[in-house]
C-alpha cells in the first residue's frame, strides 16, 4: 500500500490557467524548477535544482510522464538519488484539478514511499516522536501490511 503526502490548494483561477502553469516548461521553471517537460505520455524529463547532500540528493529529479488528461490530471514519476544511476527516492506525483465556482481546487499527491502506509500518517499525526520510538515503530510495523 502506498499513500503518502496529499496537499490540497485552492487557486482563484480557472483550471485552464492552472493547467498551463503545470504543463508549460517555461512557466513550470518559474514556480517549481528548471526542466525539459513536455506534455506527452512517455516523455522522459528532468528537474534541476540545488543538491541536498544530507538528504542524499544530487539535485536532479528524473521523471517520466505517465498520464495526461488536459485541464484535469497530470501524473509523472519523481525519482532522485545521491548520484547519477543511483535512485534512492522512487516516487510518483499526481496533480488533479477540480473546477469550482470561483476557481480551481488542486490536489497534489506525492506517493510511492514504499511500505510506509501507516508510518507516514503516524509521523504527521503525533509529535513527541522521539519518545518511545521503539514501541511506536513496532506498532506501526505491525499495522503495515
Amino acid at each position: 500500500m502506498q499513500r503518502d503526502l496529499i496537499i490540497k490548494w485552492f487557486f482563484a483561477h480557472p483550471p485552464e490557467k492552472v493547467w498551463e502553469c503545470l504543463t508549460d516548461p517555461e512557466l513550470v521553471n518559474q514556480w517549481l524548477m528548471k526542466n525539459d517537460f513536455e506534455p506527452v505520455v512517455g516523455h522522459k524529463f528532468r528537474f534541476h535544482t540545488k543538491p541536498i547532500p544530507k538528504m542524499s540528493f544530487d539535485g536532479v529529479v528524473y521523471c517520466e510522464v505517465l498520464e495526461i488528461i488536459p485541464n484535469q490530471k497530470l501524473v509523472y514519476t519523481w525519482k532522485g538519488g545521491p548520484e547519477p544511476g543511483i535512485i534512492g527516492l522512487d516516487t510518483l506525483l499526481t496533480w488533479t484539478l477540480y473546477p469550482e465556482a470561483d476557481g480551481t481546487k488542486l490536489v497534489l499527491e506525492h506517493t510511492g514511499f514504499k511500505g510506509f502506509k501507516n508510518f507516514i500518517a503516524s509521523v504527521f499525526m503525533e509529535s513527541g516522536w522521539k519518545k518511545g520510538i521503539a514501541r511506536r515503530f513496532g506498532k506501526v510495523l505491525g499495522e503495515m501490511k
Binding site: L5, K17, S56, G88, V123, K130, I133
Partner: protein, 110 residues
C-alpha cells in the same frame, strides 16, 4: 557514518521490516536474529547490512558477538524526507499562486 541507501528502500522488504520489528524489543546478535528465519545466516546478515547502510540500525561488537540495535537518527532521516517534501510543495504552490496572480495582471494590462 554516511547513509548510502535510502531508508525507504531498505524498509520496503518484508524480512527487513521483520528484523526491525525484532529489534524494537531488544538489541540482538545477528546469530539470534538468524534463528528466527528460515533463510541462511549469510542471507540474514545481508539484510542486516542493508539496514545498517540505510542508517536504520547500528552494530556494536560485544565480545565475539555483533549486536544490532535500532538507530534513532535513521528514523529521523525518514521523518526529515516527509517534512522536507511537505514544506517543499507548500512553498512551490505558493510560488504557483503568485505566478497565476501575476499572469492575470499581465493579461488585464494587455
Amino acid at each position: 557514518m554516511r547513509n548510502v541507501l535510502d531508508p525507504f528502500q531498505a524498509i520496503a522488504d518484508p524480512s527487513r521490516r521483520q528484523i526491525l520489528m525484532m529489534l524494537t524489543k531488544d538489541k540482538q546478535s545477528i546469530n539470534s536474529l538468524a534463528g528466527n528465519f528460515e533463510m541462511s545466516r549469510p542471507a540474514v546478515s545481508k539484510h542486516v547490512r542493508v539496514l545498517y547502510e540505510a542508517g536504520l540500525i547500528q552494530i556494536k561488537d560485544q565480545g565475539r558477538e555483533r549486536l544490532c540495535e535500532l538507530r534513532q537518527d535513521g528514523f529521523d532521516d525518514i521523518k526529515n524526507w516527509l517534512i522536507f517534501f511537505d514544506q517543499f510543495w507548500k512553498e512551490k504552490l505558493q510560488n504557483l499562486e503568485q505566478l497565476l496572480n501575476q499572469r492575470i495582471n499581465i493579461n488585464e494590462n494587455d
